[in-house]
Every structure is written in structure tokens, then in C-alpha cells.
Point group: D2
Chain length 365, copies 4
């Protein structure tokens, strides 16, 4: 698995298993001179921490971050920033069942096929705790973007069948419900739905939407490393994500050119678009409008119902996954999507600095 690094210039390398000593990330390429402290990062980590509402696992981890390198006297030094979160709640228990059976919906089977065996404790590297490194890195990226006037925000757009239509989206409500939805009324209904699924030992999924404002036009490299292509990789690489779309996304496939094209117009010397079906990306580059992406998150795979499966020795069997599991991981995925988006934008922002000789001359001449 040499695929634990993401980014070309703002590069993050995550490591760590669910039940090992800890989880962490090394950020290499963060420019020097950015103010940074542990609190900046902790704030992000606290948003993904379990045990915060009745819809998240009871596992109670402080998930306290330690900056091991790369910061001196409150500023980044330009050297790798190593961040460590110790695993605390590794309560010893019997993993026998999970050790010998492949859980449906989980990485157990292909992981074993790939590596020959697996760390069966809590999903090992494929655990949701892997996202701790992503979120810690996202906090640093967001800090850098903030300095340049760029903000990235994610929230829950739908839970199971409960979807918030455009006209009801009110970002000021995101912080007012534990599902991080921009509409408290929908959040309430969604909460009831989740409660009913919990009673049935079932789970659900949802859609996370992420927006970014303040992007200069031109971010993104024009062939394989397009803004939307790298964001698609970044977001699809989050455990339970099964789909990613930009702007009108799949709906655009059923539209027409005359409806889907966003006309440009100019006002007071500023070029804008009259609509944003494109979600802020044209030809793989930011177009100056709001970036809009959505990620489809599948229902939590760990459910307490008995399911049919196969053992590591190839025998048909049944499995009942016990333990602490979120009936829906969407609310905790919100900050992960936001983090991966911030990391991707930060990287492309640095890459874009070398796009033309005018930029080069600004720095050196």
C-alpha cells in the first residue's frame, strides 16, 4: 500500500490503525510563516469526534492532537508538520468473530486477498479512524486558505430519503442541529428516521455537500489533475463514499446545452456567471464562482442484524456485528469531506503559482 500520500506540493501522508498505538499525518510542503497551533487542529478533530450525539458511537476518545514537528514559535517553518493522535480507548475484547469472518460491506475480504492477512481489530487501516489524519491535515490547509480569503464549508444535504431542496438551504442552521443540516426541520425528521432504523438494527446513508468561496479563477491543472478530478479522487477516497458530482452533476446529463451553459456577464469590471450549473468548474479549472460538490455516503455497513457471509477459511456462515457503531456516519463525514476539499484546493493553489511567467517574475524579479 504505497497510496497513503495525497497531493503534489501540499502533500499529506496518513498512517495508523484503529486499535494500534495511534493515528497521524505528516504534512510536507506547507509554506513557512503560517501561524499554527494545536488548537487550530483540535477544533477540526473535535468536529469528527465520536460520542457527541445519540447518532454517533459511544467510543469516547479525546483524540487530542500533538504537533511533533514543523512549527516553531507559533509559525510553520516550511518543514514537515507531523501530527499525532494517540488511540486511547482500545478496550480489550474478543475479536474472534470478526477475525475469522468477512463482514459484508467492509474491506475485510479484499484486504485479506491483497495482503494475505489483516489486522482484524476494528477494521485496522480501513477503519473510520483513518480519517483523523485527513481532518488534522484539513485544519492546516483551511488555515492557509483562510489567509487568502478562501473558505470551505460542508454540511449534510440529505439523510436517507430526507433531502433538503435548494430553496430551503440555510447555512446558518448547520450548526444548530447535530446532523449538520442547513435546515433544522428536515434534520428533525431525519433524526426520527435514524431512531427508527436504530430500533430495527439498521443504518442509513446520505449526501454531504461542500462549497468553497473565494477561489481565484484558474485553479486546477488542465488534463488529469483538474480541480474536479482531484477533488473526485480526494472525496471518493473517503471510506463510505460511492459517488461524487459537481454543480448539477448527474442532473446535467438529462439537461440541454442551452439550459446547462452558464452565461458570463461583466459588472463593474468583474466577470461573473448568471447561473452556476457548472458548480464553479470549467475545463477542470475554478471559474470564479462558488465551488459546489456533493458526495454520496452509503449506509453504515456495521449493523447488528444477522447477515450471511463467509469465513476466512471459505465456509458459509452468519455474522452479527456487535460493538459501538454509528447508525449513520454522514454527520461525522461532513468535516472529512470539508478537509479533503481544503487539502486539494491548497495543493492546487500552490501548483497554480507556477502556471505562468508573470507569477514567476513576481516572486523572483
Amino acid at each position: 500500500m504505497s497510496g497513503s500520500t495525497f497531493g503534489k506540493l501540499f502533500r499529506i501522508t496518513t498512517w495508523g490503525e484503529s486499535h494500534g498505538p495511534g493515528i497521524g499525518v505528516v504534512i510536507d510542503g506547507c509554506p513557512a510563516g503560517l501561524p499554527l497551533c494545536e488548537e487550530d487542529i483540535q477544533r477540526f478533530l473535535d468536529r469528527r469526534r465520536p460520542g457527541q450525539s445519540r447518532y454517533t458511537t459511544k467510543r469516547n476518545e479525546a483524540d487530542a492532537v500533538e504537533i511533533l514537528s514543523g512549527v516553531f514559535e507559533g509559525k510553520t517553518t516550511g518543514t514537515p508538520i507531523s501530527l499525532l493522535v494517540r488511540n486511547q480507548d482500545q478496550r480489550s475484547r474478543d475479536y474472534g468473530n470478526i477475525a475469522s469472518l468477512f463482514r459484508p460491506g467492509h474491506a475485510d475480504y479484499p484486504f485479506t486477498e491483497k495482503y494475505g492477512f489483516r489486522d482484524y481489530r476494528g477494521g485496522g487501516r480501513s477503519s473510520g479512524r483513518e480519517t483523523i489524519g485527513r481532518v488534522a491535515a484539513g485544519a492546516v490547509a483551511a488555515k492557509m486558505l483562510e489567509e487568502l480569503g478562501i473558505t470551505v464549508r460542508a454540511y449534510t444535504r440529505s439523510i436517507g430519503p430526507f433531502h433538503i431542496p435548494d430553496e430551503k438551504v440555510d447555512l446558518s442552521q448547520v450548526g444548530k442541529n447535530s446532523l449538520y443540516m442547513p435546515d433544522c426541520a428536515t434534520a428533525e425528521k431525519a433524526g426520527e428516521y435514524i431512531a427508527s432504523l436504530m430500533a430495527e438494527k439498521d443504518s442509513c446513508g446520505g449526501i454531504v455537500e461542500c462549497i468553497a468561496d473565494g477561489l481565484p479563477a484558474g485553479l486546477g491543472e488542465t488534463v488529469f489533475d483538474k480541480l474536479d478530478a482531484l477533488l473526485a479522487q480526494a472525496v471518493m477516497s473517503i471510506g463510505a463514499v460511492k459517488g461524487v458530482e459537481f454543480g448539477d452533476g448527474f442532473a446535467a446529463a438529462a439537461s440541454t446545452g442551452s439550459q446547462n451553459n452558464d452565461p458570463f456577464f461583466s459588472e463593474d469590471g468583474v466577470i461573473s456567471k448568471k447561473s452556476n450549473h457548472a458548480g464553479g468548474v470549467l475545463g477542470g479549472m475554478s471559474d470564479g464562482s462558488r465551488l459546489v460538490l456533493r458526495a454520496a455516503v452509503k449506509p453504515t455497513s456495521s449493523i447488528a442484524r444477522t447477515q450471511q457471509t463467509v469465513s476466512v477459511t471459505g465456509d458459509n456462515s452468519e455474522i452479527t456485528v456487535h460493538g459501538r457503531h454509528d447508525p449513520v456516519i454522514v454527520p461525522r463525514a461532513v468535516v472529512v469531506v470539508e478537509s479533503m476539499t481544503a487539502v486539494t484546493i491548497a495543493d492546487l493553489l500552490l501548483q497554480n503559482m507556477t502556471a505562468n511567467m508573470d507569477h514567476v517574475r513576481k516572486v523572483y524579479l
Copy 2:
């Protein structure tokens, strides 16, 4: 733009503009000893060639490929394979209009913002002709996969609002209609729809579906370079794609865990799944089932209707895009999606060779 390379071990680097001398690709890392000739590649290129039906542009290019390196006596040598397609139909004409205006839905505006100016002839690097390099590389990847019993096939799943439901998908019909749809009846209706849009100087989009069979379980690296994450990048990086999903994709977000989990079962010593909501990917790795992905393709941006836009000097203006343009690019995107899928799988297949010491010992001891 240092983003013209894709892949870690099976690496492709594309180059070329719509109206420059040619278009090409360098494939570095194709294993030695693979039988390969120009005809293998030409067959793929012919599938994306314009001028083949009434729904594609009249631009008549032979798009004949020349192998410039990396093949000796009919086999790959392990050295870079350089492929060249000369642009032939560069009919001289007046680009004045396009040179001075930003076409809605196109890369013109962000491209100019990024680089300071642009090659305005036919979209330059952001032209659809950029995909020639992808398809040529895809042909080589497909040849390698074929040797290992892996097949990749793409087709048109929907055109505008005309979608083929699961029960009507018949892959044997794909080659029997010019839209590459696995249901000739839907294809006929879609054809009429396209004709009506052409009359209205409008365009439409659609959905390309791609499947891969024969993948061993375990392909894909488990964090950022997951099979689905890299495929998402690969496919989203194709010009007009606005969304990518795997298996049930966005529909999974509205499902429940008990419905969405695919139970494993064992028969005659072979482990399989009873359903395939996951689309063949678990934890970012192939799970031995059929890989299923879908790409949402937006409507062609170039339409002959008059649209509002802005000039490069920032003045409000109108634009009418003349020239030869496909009313729908979906049929031609089919082979591009298939090619990017093949390239991604080929790369991950090579990466996976080093996953465990058993593989290492098989090669060296």
C-alpha cells in the same frame, strides 16, 4: 500545467492541441513482452473518431496512429511507447470571434485567467481531441488486461432523459446502434430526441456506464489511491464529465445498511457476493465482483444558439458558436471512459504486484 501525467507505474503523459501539428501520448512503464501493433491502437481510435454518424461532427480526420518507440519486432520492449496522431484537418478559418470572446460552458475564461492568454483555435489543449492520447493509451492497457483475463466495456446508459433500466440492458445490442446503447429501442428514441435538439440548435448529455470483469480481488491501494478514488479522478478528468458513481452510487445514499450490504457466500470453494450494490469495490479494493461505474456527461457546450457572454477585454457581448460540433458527445465519450478505466486498472494491477512478500518471492525466489 504539470498535470498531463496519470498513473504511478503504468504512466501516461498526453500532449497536443486541437489545431497544432499533432496529438500524442507517451506510455512509460508498460511491461516488456506484450504483443502490440498499430492496428491494436487504431481500432480504439476509430471508435472515437468523428464523422461516423449523423450525431458526430463532420470533421473528417483519419486519426492514424504511428508508434514512434517502445515496440520491437511486434512486442513492447519495456521502454516508453510514444504514439503520435497528426492533425490533418486544420482548415484555416477565422477564429476572430472565439479568440476575443469567452464561450459559455468552455474552459476559455479560466484558461486565460490561469495562463495569461490561450490558444483559441478549437479549444486548444481543452479540446475534445485531447482524448486521443487517452484512447491510444487505453488500447495498450486493454491489450495487457486481456492477457490477464480482464475485460473492460463501456456503453451509453442514457441520453438526455432516455435512460435504460437494468432489466432492459442487453450488452449484445451495444454494437448495433450508433449511440452504443445496450437497448436499440431506447437508442432509437434517443436518436429522435437528438434530431429534435439539432433542429433547435441545442444539445444534450447522458450517462456512460463502464464495467470490468475478471479483476482479482484486492486491486486498489487502501487510502488515497483506492480503486474507486483513482477511477473517479480518471473519469472526472474527461472533459465534460460532471459526476462519477460506483454500484448503486447516489442511490445508495437513500438506502439502508440491510439493503445495501452485499452478503458473501461460498460455492465450490469460490467466494462471491449475492448482490452487487457496491459495484465491485469494497474499502477501495476490487472485491472479485463486476466493477460498475457511471459517468454523467454534460450537454455539449458548443451550441449554435446566440448566448450571452463577455469578451477578453471584459465587455458584455453575445456569441454564436459556429462550426462542426456534436449535438451530443456521449457516444464518442464511451471509448474514452473505457480507456481511462483500463489505464487505471492496469496501473493498480502493477502496483498490487508488490502488496505482499508472497508476490515478491514469486518473482525473485
Copy 3:
């Protein structure tokens, strides 16, 4: 500084400053199923540890390594191996002098020009302690190579003007003197020389030689990622190294083709060479003979003599570098050169697995 990662498949990312909380490395891409424990790594770290002889600094660090991830039940899992060494001896002292002056021979000046400021405590990221991560990774690489019958050994070939000629090299003596020289007689003279320099507040350099046995022919990629090219990067990237050569190296430049070419011969079906002027590398690939490289290590830059320099404010000044400094770092550099060589070979060994279709078929068919 996004340059803290080395390797394409066996990838190491180091982090940490001399006087921060710790130093470490993340190894991504080590194949699963390799037996590994902390003792394997500690053994290597102990070889570079200070305070072991009168020629090394008195700084007494245990440099105890902790495996934070990637190992389960005594074997690598295929996931990133994160290794941490806490800095223990961070004795608080007055850095005022070094903080405000640029030390000759050190990175202080260009570091400040690059990043705008620097962590002046003990060299920060440019400290010799940065090599801890390299050595920890080297231990893991060496463990893997050992499984495949490949051994890498480094030793001190010369100290200042005291050079061991070919005919006196006796590898069995390397472990019998604290300078790690393959000739105890030369080591004794070198020791006296070092003592005399210490008395004069001066320092010296030397040459580290590294050999690798058991390499299969064909390792190394044939253009930019040649075996010798990547080893040159790997070894030149070690702090004080100013030159790298293979086989006869610079002496080859004064030789003739008839002398320098190594004739091949065959015996009992095994192809070998009658001489090894090439140092085991032909066309950038291993040729089956012993790999031989040498690294020129400059004299320790930190000397207690007063030197002329400039302050961070640009004023001419004098500096006397106090503190604990090795009069010669060559003996401690031995294990670092060995480690970087092992890491590079491990990476190229994995890369070479995908060189031809026969290898691919061995793994998959």
C-alpha cells in the same frame, strides 16, 4: 519543502527537528508479511547513536524507537509503518549566538533566505538528527532485502588523508574499531589524527564505502531512475556528502576503454565479469556483480575555532560554535549511507517486479 519523501513504491517520508518533540519516519509500501519488531530497527539506530566513542558527541540520547503502526502480530501488514523517536536530551540553553549568526558550512543562511526565518535550535531540520528517520527506514529495507538474499554493508574507507588501499581492505575488521574501518592499523593512525585535530579545535572528513551483494541483474530503471542515479540522489542527500562515485568512479575518467571495460565470462551456466571497474552497474542497472559506491564526507562544519561570518541583520561578525560536536562524522555516517542504499535497492527491487510480462504472469496467472 515538499521534498521529505524518497522512493516510488517503498516510500519513506521523514520528519522532525533536532530540538522538537521527536523525529520519525513513515514507510509506505513495505510489502505485507515481513517479520518486523522494534529490536530490528533499534539495532540500526544504535549504530548511529552519539556518545559511543570519544570521537562522537557526548549528547546522550537513548534514541529508542516506537512502532506506531503497520505491524500486527510481528509482521508488517502492508499499511504505513510509522516510527517515532522522542528527543530526550533537549537541554535548555542559550542559543542567542547561533540564532543571530549564520554558521559557516551550515544551512543557516540559505535556510533563512528560503523560508524567511529558521528554527535555530541545533540546526533544526538540517541537523544530523534528521538521519534518524533514514536509518529507521533503512533497517526495515535491510530486513526485506535479507529475505531475498541481498546484503548491504558500509564502512569507513578513509579518514582525512588516511585511506585504506584495496589490498588492505578486510571486512572482518570493520566491527573491531570505533571508526568502522576495514583495517585496524589505519584506524589507529586515523584515531590519532582525529585526536590531534580535536586539540586544535578542528575537524576532518572521510570516505564511506558501501557494497551490496546478492543483487539480481536488471535492478534500476533505464533512464532517469537508474540504480546509480537514484543511489547518487539518496547518498548525496545525506547532510555532509559532497561527492558520490561507483566502481572506479573518478579514476575511470583517466582510464581507457580497454582497461575499464569488464569482460563477461560464463562458468557452469552463470554469467559473471572478470573485473568490476563498473562497480556493479551497467547502463544504470545492476549487472550481477557486487555494487560498490563511495561517498565523500566533508569535515564537520561545527568547529570551536573562531570564524568570520555575518549576522541575520547583515553585519560582519565572528562566531565560535560551542556545544557537543563530532570532530568527524564519518563513523556515524556509515550506517546512514548503508540505510539509504538499502532503501533505494528495496524500492528498485519492487519497481523491477513490473518490468516484464513474465513477472506479471508469475503473480497473477
Copy 4:
């Protein structure tokens, strides 16, 4: 062989074999807006062209370059620059001898071991003609550096035993002799020496020195991607190079700290060094002084004398290498070393743009 790409932001990918249709390079990441025409590149290629003096092969190739992409109206567009040189002089001849025997000093044996077979015509990918792509890319890099006041120059410092001491180096003489030596008197003696070797069917090597002026302090990434480390890779990756050193290089290993350290001083607000034993690199970064590197080039391996070798079937045999071969390749290697140095500096110059927030703000705020 996925190792045909060099550089992170200014990335070059070379391709092509000696006797295939052509040789070329794709440069991805050159900033937009750099004036560039074919003549800029041809000038560099003409310097490495064979047939220019009695010491180089008689093979008479025009080596005319064609720009296939990435330049529009005389300026780079920011998209990949594809450069093609057709092989013209592919005179058909009998390669039987070389096809079945491994030439001493050549890549034939390890190449065959690696890939299973080889293109035996003129060395295939391991031919000296592979450097055409490097030189074409070097011309573009040099053009960019020139805009920023940076010049890179290489020349022959020694031929066989004929070495030019520091006090005789006169750069104005480099262009006045066909060996590109900065001392015509030594060049004359070296020429006689080469003539005598030609009479004996033998060959010789030499040392190329390369200097760069005008580098800002701070170029180079501080751990693995140090300026000297990447230059070592870049230069060692040139076919016949067996050693690389910076500043005093191997001589520094025999020096002392008090002699080897370069004192800083300040004059009129400019910080400089009183000496340059370091060759312009401190801690892996440029220090504002002249960059000085040397490459040891081995004697030409192709000699007309009969040599002992082994056949591809493993039988002992003799070989006499006929054909057109340089008795010394050093003069033609000069522009290759210069090109690789320019490419490396160009890449690190772009990377360095993102080193600190001040640079970021200069571009975006």
C-alpha cells in the same frame, strides 16, 4: 521502466530508441508566456550532434527538432511541449553479432535480464541518442533561466590524464577548441592523446565541469530533494557518468573543517562567501555563490579491439564492436550535463516559489 520522467513541476519525459522512427521529449509544467521557437532548441541540439569533429562519430544526422505542441504565436502556452527529432540515418546493416553477444561496458546484459529481450540495434533505449530528449528539454529550461538572470555553462575539465588546473581555466577558450576545454593548450595535448588511442582501437574518458551563476540563495528542498542530491541524480543518470561531486568534492574528504568552511562576509548589504569550497551548496540549498559540479565520464565502451564476452545463450565468446563510435564522448556530453543541470535548477526554482507565505501572498494578494 517507468523511470523516463524527471522533475516535479518542470517535468520532462523522454522516449525513443537509437534506430526507431525518432526520439523525443515531452516537457510538462513550463510556465506560460515564455518566448520559444525551434531555433532556441536546435542551437542546443547542434552542440551534441555527431560528425562535428574528428573525435566524434561519422553518423551524420541533422537532428532537426519539431515543436509538436505547447507553443502558440511564439510563446509557451503552459501546456505540454512535445518535441520530436526523427532518426534519419538508420542505415540497414547486419546486427547479428551484437544481437547475440553482450558488449562489455554496455547495458546489453542487464537489459536482457530485466526485460527478457532487447532491441539490439545500436543500443536501443540505452543508446547515447537517448540524450537528445534531455538536451532539447535543457534548451527550454535554459531559456527560462535566462529570463531570471541565471546562466548555466559546462565544459571539459579533463580528458584522460590531461586535467586543467584551476589557475589555467579560461572560460573564453571553451568555444575555441573542439573538445570544449577552457584551455586550448591542454586541449591540443588531449587531442593528440585521443588520436593515439584511436590508432590503438582504444578510447578514453574525462571530466565535465558545470557552473551556474545567478542562482538566488535557497533553491533546493531540504531533505531528499536537495539541490545537490537532485543534480547528482540528474547527472549520474547520463549514460557514461560514474561519479559526481560538488565544490571540492572528494578532495573535501581529506581537508579539515577550518580549511573547508567558507566564511561569510557582508559588503554593501550583500552577503557573500570568501571562498567556495562548498561549490555553492549548503545544506542542500543554493547559497548565492557559483554552483560548481563535476561529472566523471568513463571511456567509451565501444572499442574496435577484440574483447572477451558471453553470448545471449550463455556461451563464452569474443566480440569486436564495429561501427561508428566516438573515441571519447566527453565533448558531446558537455551539453548534456549542462542541460540536465538547467532542467534541475528550473524545476527547483519553480518548487521554491511555494516555500513561504510571502511568496504565496506576492502571487495571490
